[in-house]
């Protein structure tokens, strides 16, 4: 294969762009789309990619690392603590029971005991990538089954560490010759150190990640945010994730776990939403690539050579996993439909198996034949999971009855769900926020000024750093479930941008928007806004009212006149806006602005009504009484 990098990229992207929408249209979900794309361009069908598929898979596993970082970002430490029971209980039970049963089965089939242990541990893993992606896509993440699935997957991620440490000990008959049992398949910084120092290094690395997320990263993000270069912020976010990956690999820990930890630590920071929306596209692309690679790596030759073995292995393993999961679901009192979602969702073998299998084959635990067969089995189980979930959804759940509607449950565990979003917390927005908060109305605040965000967060206000005109940031701020968005940035252009984004993506939101002056208000009227607030209008009127009071006018009268004037002014604004539209002419120059001012003042003078307030003093009544017509 002498294809250039660009040609390769072209093939991958093209296959994804073609297949994923088709799969989605057919209701198969994106994961299946990617897998199909991989199968089509893989060696078995079109042959655009060959053996390098596996290298790409290793590279693309980085998508899983990013995904765990994102999951971590959505999980605040307190919430993680709340999930501890299901993580330890369900996760622990699942790994131990599955490993035990599949291990025994392997032993019965005729594998050696050490191979059986390795197989059991490998098979206990499920696919974080496929399960989380599917759950998110179906909006099931926040349901009981979604959270349980997540707990089990998280435990598996943690369990990878001791499993990796255990593997070298399983080498008793060295098939491939002289591999030092103390030596890992890849050189790491700590692999030559004695055991106790390795432990210290591992603990040190974990502590460092926490320290990094708590104390080092926020000021760095702050400084980067101040440059107002978005790409630099993205670069910093990537640097953080990749840096942790490098560190974790060096001490022999799972990078996914490391970034997950960093994510959890950063979940409370003001940069949470911005980080989310920066990393999200990379994660999506890499995961897609990963699924394509999995699809491409399915070796159809091997399957057609020994179809019976492969099929029975796939079915057997999935049946065992499913049964174990189902029993655990029952033990933890899941409802039947949730339990089906949970156990069918997690019954495949995960991507960690690829890592563990290449590790074990290098250690010489398995021979080439077993490794290759298992690789195929793993890929097939992953490939049919989306299909199984589809079948479950379409045929089983409809019979079980009470299907949980996605997102029906109120649960703010993973996302902001405040009814009000305030974009811009400057001199205008902060008053709105203070008032709403004082009255117990929960608000999510987005602001682009990093200094201000820092200050406000110190005071315990939930403020997030970010550009609110970005669709993805609005999404993570909970725009889908919010009711009202108040747009009040200092920049009029930016406000218009946000209005456009919200209108396009979140038409259900009521938009309240700050205007700087009349001309700004015209633009917003053109944009179809109903709730426009000219920022100096009310203050100017209050000043005028106070001036009138000091001149001896009655407060009640001055106040009524002011209110009347405000209505009159609003009417003029709308009248002039429509005229403006007709002429399709924008008033930009000072002279034109002054001309308009003149027009407005004329309208004020001619409107005699503005000065009259005779509700309590009908001259007509007095007239009648004096002429004795009214008694």
């Amino acid at each position: 294969m002498e294809n250039s990098f660009f040609f390769q990229a072209f093939i991958y992207l093209l296959s994804a762009v073609v297949m994923v929408p088709i799969a989605k249209k057919l209701g198969l979900g994106s994961v299946l789309g990617y897998l199909l794309a991989g199968i089509i361009i893989g060696p078995s069908l079109l042959g655009f990619i060959g053996q390098e598929g596996e290298d790409i898979m290793h590279f693309a596993e980085f998508g899983v690392v990013m995904m765990l970082f994102l999951i971590g970002l959505e999980l605040e430490p307190e919430l993680l603590w709340k999930l501890r029971k299901s993580i330890l209980g369900m996760g622990g039970l699942q790994v131990i029971l599955t490993a035990l049963i599949t291990g025994i089965a392997a032993f019965i089939i005729g594998l050696q005991w050490n191979q059986s242990v390795a197989i059991g541990l490998i098979l206990a893993m499920s696919s974080t990538a496929i399960v989380m992606q599917t759950l998110n896509e179906k909006g099931l993440f926040k349901t009981d089954s979604g959270q349980s699935s997540f707990s089990v997957l998280l435990f598996q991620d943690i369990a990878v560490i001791p499993i990796l440490a255990l593997m070298p000990l399983l080498v008793i008959s060295k098939i491939t010759g002289s591999v030092d049992s103390n030596q890992h398949h890849s050189e790491t910084l700590v692999s030559t150190l004695p055991g106790w120092l390795q432990t210290i290094a591992v603990l040190g690395a974990v502590a460092f990640v926490i320290f990094l997320g708590r104390l080092i990263a926020p000021p760095i993000f702050r400084a980067i945010a101040k440059t107002r270069l978005r790409e630099l912020f993205t670069a910093t976010a990537l640097l953080l994730v990749i840096g942790i990956t490098v560190l974790m690999t060096q001490v022999g820990l799972s990078p996914a776990l490391g970034t997950f930890l960093a994510g959890v630590v950063l979940a409370n920071s003001e940069y949470r939403h911005e980080l989310e929306s920066d990393i999200e596209p990379f994660k999506g692309l890499l995961l897609g690539l990963f699924f394509i690679a999995v699809g491409a790596s399915i070796d159809f030759n091997l399957i057609s050579n020994s179809p019976l073995t492969i099929v029975s292995l796939v079915l057997g393993i999935m049946a065992i996993k499913l049964l174990v999961l189902f029993i655990i679901g029952k033990l933890f009192k899941m409802s039947l439909d949730q339990n089906f979602l949970f156990s069918i969702g997690l019954c495949q073998i995960g991507e960690f198996a690829f890592v563990l299998l290449s590790f074990t084959s290098q250690e010489g635990i398995f021979d080439d034949q077993i490794t290759k067969t298992m690789m195929a089995v793993v890929a097939i189980t992953m490939g049919i999971t989306p299909l199984l979930m589809l079948i479950n959804e379409k045929f089983i759940l409809t019979r079980v009855g009470t299907t949980e509607k996605p997102d029906e449950k109120e649960d703010d565990k993973f996302e902001e769900k405040n009814p009000v979003i305030i974009a811009g917390f400057g001199r205008f927005g902060n008053i709105i926020g203070r008032f709403l908060n004082a009255n117990g109305i929960k608000t999510t605040v987005l602001d682009i000024d990093s200094d201000r965000v820092e200050l406000l967060r110190k005071m315990g206000i939930k403020v997030y750093y970010g550009d609110a005109s970005r669709y993805d940031l609005l999404k993570s701020a909970g725009a889908e479930s919010a009711k009202v968005i108040i747009v009040c940035l200092d920049s009029a252009e930016k406000n218009l941008e946000i209005v456009d984004t919200v209108k396009k993506h979140y038409p259900h939101l009521h938009i309240l928007v700050r205007a700087h002056d009349r001309f700004d208000a015209y633009d917003l009227l053109d944009a179809g806004m109903l709730h426009i607030y000219r920022e100096t209008l009310d203050t100017s009127m209050r000043t005028a009212v106070d001036a009138m009071k000091l001149l001896g006018f009655r407060a009640f009268k001055a106040d009524r006149l002011a209110r009347k004037f405000l209505k009159h002014d609003d009417k003029i604004l709308k009248d002039l806006a429509s005229v403006r539209n007709d002429n399709n002419k924008y008033i930009d120059t000072v002279r034109e602005r002054n001309n308009e001012m003149e027009e407005i003042i004329k309208a004020d003078i001619h409107n005699k009504d503005l000065r009259q307030d005779d509700s309590w003093d009908a001259e007509t009544l007095r007239e009648e009484v004096r002429n004795n017509k009214f008694n």
């Binding site: 009655r554 407060a555 009640f556 008694n631």
Partner: protein
């Protein structure tokens, strides 16, 4: 010495000839406090605690207002609704106003005759104001006959001045305890203290 509080409610005081004179003379009497609520609470945001304190500090309360649609202007109703709290003004524990005197000073466009059975308004003013009387009763206050200025549209300034002079005498007498409760209650209007 009794202290008097006038709770004055007029949405267009600047146009009123009658109340301008009445308030002006009331200002000259010692121990009278004028509480101009349309000026203070033009936005209807009544400071309840402040108003309660004012009431506690005085012995005689006067509700002074024009007669709009057989009742008081809306802010005064709001004032009554908000300030006369249960547990403070009325109810088992509400005894803060107990024993205080209360009456209405009312200006009315209609003449005395208009407020008779044969007149345009059919009912007399005294027949129309029992809601105020009962409010006072519930607050364990003593409700006195009203001070009324009739036929305001037709009054000449010197006629208004006569009313104002009597009003001044009334306030003066009340603060100096010149009238017994009996004297007051025997009158149909408090104006009658000074006629003939």
């Amino acid at each position: 010495m009794k202290k008097i509080l006038i709770v004055f409610a007029h949405p267009s005081f600047e146009l009123s000839r009658v109340h301008k004179q009445l308030i002006s003379v009331a200002n000259q009497v010692k121990n009278v406090t004028i509480n101009d609520i349309y000026q203070k609470y033009f936005d209807y945001d009544i400071d309840i605690e402040h108003e309660k304190k004012l009431l506690e500090q005085n012995d005689i309360i006067i509700w002074q207002h024009p007669f709009y649609w057989y009742s008081c202007p809306p802010l005064m109703k709001e004032w009554i609704d908000l300030v006369l709290e249960h547990g403070w003004a009325y109810g088992n524990q509400g005894r803060s106003l107990e024993g205080k005197w209360l009456f209405n000073t009312i200006s009315s466009g209609g003449s005395f005759d208009a407020y008779t059975k044969e007149g345009l308004n059919k009912y007399s003013i005294r027949e129309l104001i029992p809601p105020f009387e009962q409010t006072a009763r519930l607050c364990r206050m003593t409700y006195l006959p009203p001070f009324i200025v009739h036929g305001t549209h037709k009054l000449e300034n010197n006629e208004i001045k006569e009313y104002a002079d009597n009003y001044k005498l009334l306030l003066d007498g009340l603060t100096n305890e010149k009238f017994s409760l009996n004297d007051l209650n025997n009158k149909y209007y408090l104006n009658d203290l000074f006629s003939n």
